[in-house]
Assembly symmetry: C2
Homo-oligomer: 331 residues x 2
């Protein structure tokens, strides 16, 4: 996730700087840039370059400045406003699909600001179909039906999730249990069903790229994968594939972990790894293999063209893990 | 003040109805209308007809819907959003000049919602020059300097208010004391001075229209005026003129009250009263004088062309009082 912080006052800039430091610790966040003053012009310039834009300023300035820039709830970045005394942090635009609500909660956690979320499902303690899809990296085909499904759900209706795959792990999610049921389906894709209406859903491919020192055993690797997924607030079951570089072909730990977890393991050729543009760069690995980060490159390669990292390289005890998701925009 | 309430969900509509009932008790509020669904189209239709628009809905819906309608902070209505569980009420647009912040606080008071105000002066416990002007019904000529003055004030600067009139009563206002000083001036208008910069200010004319039964004494009338002004969160000193109908020329109470308070008293001809379009209509008064409300008509007439009621007829113990303010938009 790439985040822009915008401020107009001295105290706003101070908050921006503190927030940048804190947000940069989050392995899901790859870049945090600070902009000061010239709000309107800056927004026009950077609007499409960031996943989230956080304005430390009065609501009115932000609203008036983004008006000409908003296009579509499926494409617009998350827009968040925090007052420049840090009292409230408010999710403004793209609450669900753009992740503004989650980021608002994270910022509230990192600071002493109170989160303000106004989307109807959330204020009534429900998980809308768009929030569900966002959380588990599912693509929704017919987004025009989201409002109808969410409204029914607020009225107490249960939505059936019909899937060819085992999605039992979703029941560990309290908000899921409240509004959804699961049914085994025959079709290849997932369907959310409400009476005679349905929403078509495709899970994106979630790939964990793994790099290890020699001789790391499977328990440690499984533990590392669990930790990595938990950063994304996901259970290990959601993972689709484990990927690593061809130089790890002899590593029993990875091979056994893949077998135990029943997740396919892909070894990526060094030449393919070298083609990927990684976020993390280790000069040691770079010198040895010509790759910035083996785990990131492997994850990106297996997640395919148009994929993106959602967890940058994180290291635990001799293991480095990154997570990539396949192209999300096209159904 | 005319207020529009907009909702999209069932629970939003329920909140609208409760809010309408509560807001209608406020004598500063003359009309509260409820609209449900079709947010974008409704807003386009009603945007210029209301002083304040309150959306009981997710922030994103409101922001996306007003984008094409906003023009200028001196003209746009106050825009407020409340989530449809009534947890937060958020001042969005026209916080100061449009009064959105004050209305947000009032709604929070009337409900269990927490107010969210993001304007920099307010979150830092200061009263900006625009908020000061709004509160005391002053017109600001050079609004382009507001930001500069407010920023200085946030940095701890003191702004000098130079006035030909005695404005000592402002010192009862704690927020005023914090950031302003008063100086006796020679010029006819008020000036806010910061170093070599100045903002020109003209107070609007504030007129209390009074109607009484026969023989009401001055103490009661003064008490009534105090109460009326306190609804506007103003001290009695801010009042410019007392107005009543010519049929009250023999009423000692009003005449003495005017003398004691040192506020000029104007008697308005019946024919002039009849020309005013009052908000309140008493069929008794209508039958007797051909006027809907003597106090409202007198206040409006003396406040002049383009004036408006800011407090509709309120009755206390045989006295009816309304307050009008002279034209605010033109300096």
């Amino acid at each position: 996730m790439k985040i822009a912080l915008l401020s107009v006052t001295k105290s706003g800039l101070k908050i921006s700087k503190q927030l940048k430091m804190k947000l940069s610790q989050d392995p899901r966040i790859f870049q945090v840039d600070i902009f000061h003053k010239n709000v309107k012009e800056t927004l026009r310039r950077i609007f499409d370059d960031y996943d989230a834009i956080i304005g430390i300023m009065a609501m009115g300035i932000m609203v008036r400045s983004i008006c000409g820039l908003l296009s579509d709830k499926r494409r617009d970045p998350a827009i968040i406003v925090m007052d420049d005394a840090g009292k409230h942090v408010i999710s403004l635009i793209s609450g669900h699909l753009g992740g503004a609500n989650d980021l608002t909660l994270e910022i509230a956690n990192l600071t002493s600001a109170r989160p303000v979320i106004t989307t109807s499902t959330d204020v009534h303690g429900c998980m809308g179909i768009d929030a569900l899809a966002k959380k588990y990296y599912w693509k929704i085909k017919n987004t025009d039906k989201i409002v109808k499904f969410n409204r029914a759900l607020l009225d107490g209706a249960k939505i059936i999730i019909e899937s060819p795959e085992n999605l039992e792990y979703l029941f560990n999610d309290q908000l899921f249990r409240k509004s959804y049921m699961i049914k085994k389906g025959e079709d290849k894709i997932i369907k959310a069903i409400l009476d005679k209406d349905e929403i078509k859903i495709k899970p994106c491919r979630l790939v964990a790229g793994v790099g290890t020192k020699k001789g790391i055993n499977e328990e440690k690797i499984i533990e590392g994968l669990k930790k990595a997924l938990s950063f994304l607030d996901l259970p290990l079951e959601r993972l689709d594939i484990i990927a690593t570089g061809e130089m790890k072909k002899g590593e029993k730990g990875i091979i056994n972990a893949s077998r135990i977890l029943k997740k396919p393991l892909k070894f990526v050729d060094l030449n393919d790894l070298r083609l990927e543009d990684t976020h993390s760069k280790s000069s040691f690995v770079e010198d040895k293999f010509g790759v910035g980060s083996v785990c990131e490159a492997a994850a990106l390669h297996v997640a395919g063209r148009g994929s993106r990292l959602i967890l940058r390289k994180t290291s635990y005890d001799g293991i480095a893990i990154a997570v990539a998701v396949s192209r999300e925009k096209v159904f």
